[in-house]
Amino acid sequence: MEYTLFILILPLIGFLSLGLLGTRLKGKTAGYVGTALLAATAILAYITAWQYFSTPGVDGIRPTLIPLNWEWMRFTEHLHIDLGILLDPISVMMLVVISTVSLMVHIYSLGYMEGEKGFQRYYAFLGLFTFSMCGLVVATNIFQMYIFWELVGVSSYLLIGFYYTKPEAVAASKKAFIVTRFADMFFLIGILLLSYFTKTFDFGLLCSGEENLFASAAGKTFMGGAVLSWAMALIFIGAAGKSAMFPLHIWLPDAMEGPTPVSALIHAATMVVAGVYLVARLFPVYYFFTPEVLHGIAYVAAFTALYAAIVACVQTDIKRVLAFSTISQIGFMLVALGVSGMGTVEANGLESHEGLGYMASMFHLFTHAMFKALLFMGAGAIIHTVHSNEMSRMGGLRKQMPITHITFLVACLAIAGIPPFSGFFSKDEILTATFMFKPWLGVTMTFIAALTAFYMFRLYYNIFWGKPAQHDHPLHEAPSSMTSPLVFLALVTVVAGFIPFGKFVSSTGAAYIIHLDWKVALTSVIIALVSIFIAWKLYCKGSSKVPDKVAGFFGPLYTAAKHRFYIDEVYQFITHKIIFRCISQPLAWFDRHVIDGILNGIAWITCRGSLAFRWMQTGQLQSYALLLLCGCLLLLCIGLFR
């Protein structure tokens, strides 16, 4: 299956050709070139998926294929960075997700970005991003993943800062890059630690569950924790940075300064789930060797999901609502991974139910990518028409934008978990898995699911119902290049739930048959419906005073949530007040005044010293004669009385 290499190469060609020659291309040519290349990529990805999943594995277990692997750089005998392609269920699934969403975004942008300055640059960056993301998911070793991880970060930086003349966009791109970079540092340290003990970067070896590999780390502790736990926790911090887990989530809401299709592609569907993917990729290591870290991940993720859901309830910028919703949903995926166990293959060739969480997480990743991309693109269509991100500038748009309305509704229903839309199925599995792990966690997650339904429909009603805002230009439906991806994704969202996902992706590779847990499903659906009803009551009419009263009732909580619990301010404080004021500036001062001062002091002393000796060099013969005399006598004395 060497042709999978072209899944990487085609977007790269797109990046290079558009990036180097881009300015020569007139009009939308660059967009068409990029889209064509991406379409080819997507087709290749589908062929790969079809070929991979249609090949039966040994004993029904899906194999891990490595069609290509080149040694790129050798560190030591054991440690070397390879660049290769690894195909297993999750990477193939990710390839499909990435290429699909990316293709949709490419098509959508033809309309959305039309006439923007830097159109070809935009497509070049999209190509770069798609290349790096695909490279990330097919990584054969942890270092290759780190390489593409960084590339993804950079393309995200470039795309967030696409409107580079806008100071907010520049600040947001910088923030995104630095925060993720900060997390990546931990990732790198984690890799270093892990490779120090295991002497390998290779995923195949790491995930084989081989005890010997980790033997050298056994018993080694650092600050009360096993070294291995530290390593895996550090790697998770890297994942948390990319996946915007609390407290490293702060960059994601700001990242919405980028063009909306970019938010759809990078900050909703693909890049932000890289962290989930990383944890899933290393799942055997987490599960077998550091289960405490895995549980920690679950708690962090659950907290993040709750936090983000609460914040999402009070935001007024529609893209921010979606951003917090994304954070919350990624929280769901990571919770599912955190509570999951490793399934065992039973006699009938099927996987036992311990692996449910893993499967659910991947399933949710898949469905979420589709409906969240759809939501963002819908939001993009609205922003494109309304020229504003604020909810208050919208209202009653269902008449002007029927297609956007319907597709948006589909996505909202999906994320709220209403059957038969895809979100229902994946979310239900997650809830089941959490109930299996700890019932109180299940309850919490159900509550968050209810919040999700509430804030999504708050958004929905505020945009499409309620009182229309005044606009000085006529509102119209988006062009077909933008609506067609919406329709396509809506269709996927409707049918994706019926895919027997467990047959394709599971923790062991054996097929997993999904059973709906009716108790959980029913409760969650009812709670979601209740939330939607509340949202309808509060926001449908548009002029209701109730929301303000509710806000008043919650008082400080409301204000805090509106300010995202002041996390940004804390960061601002740490970076500006502590790092800049208390470290960098004193250091710079120290350098200029102390170290340099010492040097200048030495120079000064030398100067003074020579001044002090200058009287000797009067130019008067007589003084020299005196010195000569003294010198001669001294030498004579030394010679005589030595």
Partner: protein, 104 residues
């Protein structure tokens, strides 16, 4: 001549020599400096003569050296005095510390 040991002559000449040096270092008037130089030269002359007489009685080198030395010092004095007079003509002064003015 044995009744006066050679050392006595040498001591006398060294007193003269250091007196000359002292004068050379401390005097401010150029002519006085020149006088001091004269003392130094003469003291060496004495030494030449004395060494010749006491240590190498059969030879004449010391004596001739002294002879030439006297001649040279006379020449030197003549030139030096010419210069001093010239300086005086320029700055109306022959003090050492005023010689800086010559640079201007």
């Amino acid at each position: 001549m044995e009744l006066i040991p050679m050392e006595y002559y040498l001591v006398v000449s060294s007193i003269m020599f250091f007196a000359g040096i002292y004068g050379f270092i401390t005097r401010k008037n150029l002519i006085a400096v020149l006088i001091s130089v004269e003392l130094v030269l003469t003291s060496t002359d004495i030494n030449f003569a004395v060494f010749n007489r006491f240590l190498f009685p059969g030879h004449l080198e010391g004596m001739f050296f002294t002879l030439f030395s006297i001649g040279i010092s006379a020449a030197e004095t003549a030139v030096a005095i010419a210069i001093i007079i010239n300086i005086y003509r320029n700055i109306k002064n022959v003090e050492v510390r005023n010689l800086k003015k010559l640079k201007d």
